[in-house]
Amino acid sequence: MGTTMFEKIWARHVVAEGPGGQTLLYVDRHLLHEGSTAALVRLAGSGRRVRRPDLSFATADHYVLTSPGAPAPDAEIGSMVASLTAHTAQQGIVFFGRGDVRRGIVHVIGPEQGLTLPGMLLVCGDSHTATHGAFGALAFGIGSSEVEHVLATQTLWQRKPKTLRVTVDGRLAAGVAAKDVILAIIATIGAAGGVGHAIEYAGSAIRAMSMAERMTVCNMSIEAGARCGMVAPDETTFAYVRGRPFAPAGDAWAQALGLWQSLPSDPDALFDREVRLDAADIAPTVTWGTSPQDALPITERVPDPAAVADPVRRASLARALAYMGLAAGVPLTDVKVDRAFIGSCTNSRLDDLRAAAAVAKGRRAVVPAWVVPGSGLVKQAAEAEGLDRIFLAAGFEWREAGCSMCVGMNGETARAGERVASTSNRNFEGRQGKGARTHLMSPAMAAAAAVTGRLTDVRRL
């Protein structure tokens, strides 16, 4: 019987088998952001050292202000970046800080810099670390104590999860994006559907995707409850990685390539679970509720709690509609929005901004609409091809790189009651600001909502 890609990568990282079915795994790459500082502080306080500062890389993303011109933040928010700056300098960790064009969202810059490579075990104190699995890496988010553990030992204790293969075959219709694929997957398996599993995304629709699209899919694995998601590396992957600043070059490249080509799951590998979707069935999708599983094709209506038999599900649905300020049975395309947010580690890469700009071009935003590039380099590349001018001409705000209104830790939040068409990954209560209402969708759909002022089927625009 063959072996899955997950098992191959896992096996390559086993340092020791510990007690009770726990395995000590070696970490090839550790990415840090402002939220990781507390672990650096505790480590220093305990008199321990960072074992491998050369394998750790840090950036500022959650707390950096993204208003044009990148003004200085208030003292408390500013101290989050200052503290990371100081602690990484002390420990000799490379840090992409304010003023560095390479700075950006940790899950955008890892791949962009060639820090994310196939076959790696990569961790970060952030749940969307699964993004890096798009390269055929074993990448998952960890908590603050685990961050401290990795800093001190370069290892982690893990229990082997089960494997789940999600196969999407066929061709996506025009107007359907990677975001729609992952929202459809989550709606199918549920927000808890992947708990305890490592997901491998496979099938012709996934194979046909660019790296940016694969990252969008893997990014939201956590929204299906899975800690990691991965796509087998192939020519698309290698073409993306080649020539990146931290990627192997010369002889090292040839050697690495040999390993990477051996990573995909064997044809006869068995997965603990299999789920299949037909790409042709997937439509532009939006969320209507407060869990990412609350997603429907834009052509549908707001669901009716009265039609749900299970009392827990019915209560939860009613609560979601009350929070979202939606009435059952209303066509989704009748729902008016107050703002649009195009950004986040799910959808802030160059391809995403191109898709949004294609919709914005020649039109006019009728609600405040922000475009927040994922990194300084994405911003630069977008400006080089004139995307900033398209957005500005259409009345969108063109901002600096960062997490921004995905989570609003830097104070960039939506107001209570405001309805946001957002390309981010979480529509939880209060996620984009206390009382803010989030509808998740693709960049093209968010741009369409910005220019019409309501949830819109981008295919009908």
């Binding site: 340092v15 020791a16 510990g18 007690p19 009770g20 079915g21 726990q22 000590l24 070696y26 939220g35 507390a38 305990s46 321990r48 707390y63 408390e76 928010i77 101290s79 989050m80 104190g125 952030d126 749940s127 988010g141 960890i142 908590g143 603050s144 104590s145 685990e146 401290e148 553990h149 001190a152 030992t153 370069q154 290892t155 204790w157 229990r159 927000a191 808890a192 708990v195 305890g196 956590i222 929204e223 409850g225 899975a226 800690r227 869990s291 599983q293 827990v312 209560a315 939860s316 609560r319 989570v407 609003g408 830790m409 979480r426 939880f428 209560e429 209060g430 996620r431 206390k434």
Partner: protein, 196 residues
Amino acid sequence: MEPFTRITAIAAPIDLPNVDTDRIVPARFLRKPQGSPGYDRFLFHDVRFEADGAEKPEFVLNHPSFRGARILVAADNFGCGSSREAAVWALAAYGVRVVIAPSLGDIFHQNCFKNGLLAVILPGDVVTGLRGALHARPGSTLSVDLDSQTVTAPEGAVHRFELDPFRKQMLLSGQDEIALTLGYEAQIAEFEARQA
């Protein structure tokens, strides 16, 4: 880390599935250092308090009978979403030592153990039954015994739960996991030598 052995305490039911860690601790509190003053008030802040700081009477922990709860009995996928360990820090600051659920967010689950909170996974129907009993008799206590891996319901039924022996040992001893791993230095160095 405070060792865990056995606890008998008031348990509060949290009925909604998929309670995410943004709801457990809103993002704006994440810049406050762990253990800073009033940390216990961050717990469930926006569903627990009005804008003026007054308690929302409908929230379960504001019910007089559940006020001193040290055990939460939650629904599926409690603690999903963000990796923020602050969710566990806030639970601990409030006094919660045990979370019982049919399933938990993976990272939250790990974070519990790192902070001396016992995460108990029991079958969905058992957990639903426990929540039902707590609603029927608010203020009832549950007993959770780590050594025998059991939860004793208010009416006396005993439910055994599975627990990874490694996690169990760490909880019982309150041992520092980093210190334990540093004991594997030889294997780690050997692994690194093989990679080079």
